[in-house]
């Protein structure tokens, strides 16, 4: 904030030249806010993805070969490709205007379903990021959580409510322990949590892959590495009837978001977490047991990630296999970063990623766009979020705003 007013171009919209020199204009504040950065990053990602859609589209490629002879063909083909892709994405993720009856709103519920594990794992990671722990291990924590939930789901036979609660708690404990290992090692030996959690991801994958070949997890009488389906009572209750897959896990995820907000903003424990995240040495000097905070943070983060894994099994999949976690744990890192590690942001980011995930099948089948496009969109968003100045550099809005006195170089970054 050391930039001074005389750097700014003359025609500023709010030229209140008061003695305090650092007061940025309203326009400056809005355009430099993280919300604007995130939204613009998403728009740029969609724009870049559109270029790829055109590049991969056979009709557009044909038309490009004679673009100077008849440019209209190319632009028509390109527009068709982009329109088909994004309308399919919209129809798959938000509202299917071509469907009949209740199926029209099914896409938005699918988006919510897909976002559940991402919200939970993302919340856990967010806590870690704000406490100065870069936990890359959500993937492993999701996986052991899912395995524990599946195990408790098909071995036990408990009454309604009790069974699903037990299975979820089992997942929380399993995920917590898995992350707790990294927290404990960091607290005791100073081992980098980044390395340890990455390694624990591999260990989790090979551990469950092994268990799936033994009687512990494998379906009896089968040679397939897949568990039996969990009991009826262990399934998350459906919220909107059997036509929709939306399950109570979505409410659990929202409650967890509120809980995390309370933990981080209102509780003493959360204050300690944030203090350690802000400055470990200062926190230690202030009498906070930093070692214990490391372990606590990882326990909470792992518990949430484990619960996210449980939602995948108890909410939708019903059976568990080595690939059940998909890329939830890694997507959740992006979700937490995109959500700025705040509960509300994480929920919104998870919904965005859930929408991309829910919309991609229709995008493939209706528009013939490769599913990899979704990965590109996600990756570009991450890239841009990591570099806000890059967003401002690429953004048309920010360029246009310079005409009205906006100064890109003045941004607080």
């Amino acid at each position: 904030m050391s930039a001074t007013v005389q750097d700014a171009p003359a025609p500023a919209p709010a030229p209140e030249r008061k003695p305090e020199p650092d007061r940025p204009s309203y326009l400056q504040q809005v355009l430099d806010s993280t919300t604007t950065t995130v939204v613009v990053a998403i728009l740029i990602a969609l724009g870049l993805a559109a270029v790829l859609v055109v590049a991969a589209d056979a009709a557009s490629q044909d038309a490009l070969s004679y673009v100077f002879a008849r440019p209209a063909d190319f632009f028509e083909a390109a527009w068709n490709a982009i329109y088909e892709t994004y309308s399919a994405l919209f129809r798959g993720a938000i509202f299917d205007y071509q469907a009949e009856g209740a199926r029209r709103i099914r896409p938005i519920t699918e988006t919510m379903v897909s976002s559940v594990p991402l919200i939970l794992a993302g919340l856990g990671l967010g806590i870690g990021f704000r406490s100065g722990l870069f936990n890359i291990g959500a993937q492993g924590q999701v996986l052991v959580g899912a395995a524990a939930a599946a195990y408790l789901g098909f071995t036990l036979d408990l009454p309604v409510v009790a069974h699903v609660v037990v299975a979820c708690l089992g997942a929380v404990v399993a995920g917590g322990i898995w992350a707790g290992i990294a927290g404990f090692l960091k607290a005791r030996t100073g081992a980098s949590e980044v390395i340890v959690t990455i390694m624990l991801n591999s260990i989790a994958l090979y551990l469950v892959s092994y268990l799936l070949t033994t009687a512990v997890l494998r379906q009896p009488g089968s040679t397939r590495p897949i568990t039996p389906p969990v009991g009826e009572n262990a399934m998350m209750p459906l919220l909107l009837g059997s036509q929709f897959r939306l399950h109570a896990g979505f409410l659990v995820a929202l409650l967890a978001a509120v809980g995390v907000w309370w933990l981080m903003e209102r509780s003493t424990l959360g204050f300690r977490f944030r203090a350690v995240g802000a400055n470990q040495d200062a926190a230690r000097t202030a009498g906070i047991n930093v070692q214990r905070v490391f372990v606590s943070v990882m326990l909470v983060a792992g518990g949430l990630a484990g619960l996210g894994g449980a939602m995948q099994i108890l909410g939708t999949d019903r059976t568990f296999q080595a690939g059940s976690a998909g890329s939830i744990g890694f997507d959740a890192i992006t979700v937490a970063l995109l959500g700025r590690s705040r509960p509300l942001g994480t929920v919104l980011a998870a919904l965005l990623f859930g929408a991309l995930r829910a919309g991609s099948p229709l995008m493939q089948t209706a528009a013939g766009t490769p599913i990899d496009l979704v990965l590109v969109i996600q990756a570009v968003i991450v890239l841009l979020i990591a570099a806000p100045p890059l967003v401002r550099e690429l953004s048309v809005i920010h360029w246009a705003a310079t005409l009205f006195g906006y100064d890109r170089k003045k941004a607080a970054a």
Binding site: S65, P225, I226, Q321, S327
Partner: protein, 370 residues
């Protein structure tokens, strides 16, 4: 810096302009005539991959080739959906239903539940599933009126490969490894081990197969179907142990085994799924491929689509066997001269015995179809 960007941009524009100077095709009344004429038959066949994707150089790709063949030869419309994780199987099958597919083919046993649920909910749509039959929650086989399992008695062909390998081996030590312990993988290894054992018994030459224990159903797995480097190091260990014929059952990872074999003296590799000798990717090392254990997924998929287009679809399982050519071993190609005539004759004899039912090759992974 700015100057460099400008020059680069100008260069790019010039290149683009030159590339784009082609003349426009004649304007015709029927818009985009070339593209739409392919769909002459009003039939849509759809395919959902498992998490391997259609470029896995293995069974997803074989299935996809069958679909493409149907598109070009039968003039139908095709739609595909790749899955990136098991959570998407149900949604992918569901979106195919939404897209009005006439026939939906799931590739891989992992899609069993999704295809089964789709078939039960949509009795007017036909389904097929590669590499798995259908079963209920208690794992009892079930038959669905509108869903056809496409199965392969791969162990029969693998048995021949095992016998051949044991006959060729100078060290009398063979090796095999898999990608992951899936039934569609271990079925190769079961047949291979049995074939080698049969040779040992007949010839009286003790032959060992490392990498797979059929009794315990346990052996060498590299953990995925993509890590070629792991395939290479695993093969190098086998070669160092004295093995001179290797059967990698892990799709594209087999090229790692070829690489390892190329560094060693007189070591051969047996390819899986398709004839590895003919694959462009293996051009450099094709001389090392003794034979291939082939599974005609492409043919099975194409035939299923064809019968569905002709209105002759039945839910009876297709079982690829040596008898119907659904599985077999590939020609020996460059190894032709190295395979003794009597061994080659013996292989033909065994093939006939299996076809006639005089010899039954067992595998716990074989599909129990009545």
């Amino acid at each position: 810096m700015k100057k460099i960007i400008r020059v680069a941009a100008l260069g790019g524009a010039v290149a683009l302009a030159l590339a784009a100077c082609g003349s426009a095709p004649e304007e015709t009344n029927e818009t985009s005539g070339g593209d739409e004429t392919s769909a002459t038959v009003d039939f849509t066949a759809c395919m959902v991959s498992d998490e391997g994707g259609f470029d896995d150089a293995s069974f997803n790709e074989s299935g996809f080739k069958g679909l493409e063949q149907a598109e070009s030869e039968l003039g139908i419309t095709i739609k595909t959906a790749e899955s990136t994780d098991p959570g998407q199987y149900t949604t992918n099958v569901d979106s195919m239903v939404q897209q009005g597919c006439n026939l939906i083919i799931g590739v891989g046993f992992a899609l069993e539940d999704a295809v089964q649920a789709g078939a039960e909910a949509n009795p007017d749509i036909e389904f097929a599933l590669v590499d798995s039959a259908f079963s209920d929650a208690d794992f009892n086989p079930v038959t669905l009126d509108n869903a056809k399992p496409l199965l392969f008695n791969t162990q029969e062909a693998a048995y021949l490969a095992g016998y051949l390998a044991a006959g060729i081996s100078e060290t009398h030590k063979l090796a095999t490894f898999g990608g992951q312990p899936f039934p569609s993988v271990t079925i190769f290894m079961d047949g291979f081990v049995d074939g080698a054992a049969a040779y040992a018994e007949e010839s009286g030459v003790a032959t060992t197969v490392v990498g797979w224990d059929k009794e315990a159903q346990n052996g060498s797995m590299i953990g995925n179907f993509s890590d070629t480097e792991a395939g290479r190091t695993t093969s190098e260990q086998f070669i160092a142990d004295g093995a001179d014929v290797i059967l990698p059952v892990a799709g594209p990872v087999g090229s790692g085994a070829l690489n390892a074999a190329s560094q060693a003296e007189s070591t051969a590799v047996i390819w899986v799924d398709s004839d590895g000798y003919l694959q462009p990717a293996n051009e450099q090392y094709k001389g090392l491929i003794l034979t291939s254990v082939m599974k005609q997924i492409q043919t099975a998929v194409f035939d299923t689509i064809k019968s569905s287009v002709d209105g002759e679809f039945t839910a009876d399982p297709y079982v690829g066997t040596l008898a119907n050519g659904g599985v077999d071993i590939a020609p020996y190609h460059d190894w032709e001269a190295n395979v003794p005539a009597e061994l080659s004759a013996k292989i033909d004899e065994l093939r006939q015995a299996i076809i006639d039912g005089d010899l039954v090759v067992e595998s716990p992974s074989a599909n129990a179809v009545s």
